[in-house]
Subunit: 233 residues, 2 copies
């Protein structure tokens, strides 16, 4: 029997401060070990293990055992989008207890594995405005012009196509507009980081779960992204 209020079962997983801290840390897109996550959450190893077990069972995170370590990452794009949205709601509803993201956070950041913030929204607008991608059922597909342009930028389209979704929208809360997720979003972000068009901003204090999500655009990046997509930095 499916309950009409089915999402409560998922919401309980988000409702604990320790689990929330873990999930927030994983929004950087990096895979973290159980002990790293325990430290981030400020709890002991046994408690962390229990939390991680519930998160895995609930389908929110996935595990990659590697020797003695167990690396954890968010289970999917959907989970990342959900956390981003919930964080934005919290900020909209109660500015007093919003998380401490500064202006840099709104300008450009990682949302799991793709670009968000003003840059992410501008990228979405640029791709659709130039018809490099066009709508289809359940997402977007690349046009011929898009394939040429993206390949010239250095984006690995073959890798992007291996994802479950090639390109789809993800809500950008700080901008109230959609940015690009899916395989294409991932590969564009990877390309920008690989070529040092974007660099991660180091954390200001130790153990900040939002560390490594903030991005800064290099002069080279502003030029290249600008000319490729006609967007203003």
């Amino acid at each position: 029997m499916t309950s009409p209020a089915a999402f409560a079962a998922t919401a309980v997983l988000l409702a604990d401060p320790a689990r929330a801290a873990m999930l927030t840390a994983l929004l950087s897109g990096e895979a973290l070990t159980a002990s790293e996550l325990a430290r981030v959450a400020g709890i002991g190893a046994p408690a962390a293990s229990a939390h991680l077990g519930r998160l895995v069972k609930g389908g929110l995170i996935a595990v990659h055992p590697q020797g003695r370590h167990r690396y954890h990452r968010l289970a999917s794009e959907e989970v990342a989008a959900m956390l981003e949205t919930l964080g934005g709601l919290t900020e909209a509803v109660s500015p007093a207890r919003r998380w401490p993201h500064g202006e840099a956070f709104r300008t450009a950041r990682l949302c799991y594995d793709h670009l968000a913030g003003r840059l992410g929204v501008a990228l979405h607008a640029g791709l659709t405005g130039q018809s490099w991608i066009v709508p289809t059922a359940g997402g977007w597909v690349a046009t011929e012009a898009g394939e040429v342009g993206l390949t010239a930028m250095g984006v690995d389209l073959a890798a992007a196509r291996t994802a479950r979704r090639f390109a789809c929208d993800c809500m950008d809360w700080s901008e109230r507009r959609a940015h690009l997720a899916g395989g294409l979003g991932r590969e564009i972000a990877a390309c920008c980081l690989r070529r040092h068009w974007l660099t991660r901003i180091p954390a200001e204090r130790e153990g900040d779960p939002l560390a490594r999500r903030r991005l800064r655009m290099t002069p080279e990046g502003a030029r290249r992204l600008g000319e490729a997509l006609g967007i203003a930095a």
Copy 2:
């Protein structure tokens, strides 16, 4: 001090089955009394009162006292979008416990006060594709052509402008694409319902919190929406 895992405070409000049922019921966009919500949640009046108090305090719902009755509605567009997203995540993560929305639910439904589902996404694509709305910082604005076209449809643009946001994106989970929210989204939905281009589908069983969210397009509606926006029903 703002905790990095700030969203946990909001998530606890969603994590209870009774509160989740209440919020789900309010997604229909209607204002409900405390006793109606108690019945929907399957709990007594005292428990419902406590839950509603917490939801109001948390900024998720708003109250309108009216005589002996206290009407409750969702506090904002953001809350509705958040619930929609969380419901979608639950379905993506765990199809076993997804809520029972049939095909009609995916085709056309209300997301609080605006249109969602395939129809909502098609509407968004039609408005942007014909340049009736164009992007701006934090949302969309209507062009001159858009003002003419929308007014001809019967949409009250003056009313739409009284909203906090004129037009912004809202994530459509079943389609993985953005649909239109904000004052314009609200007025378009109101127009379609007023002119009987769309009608609510009656609930199949008593007390279904998803009741009155499902929509069906009338032949007249398909024709009018189709010719106005060039969308396929």
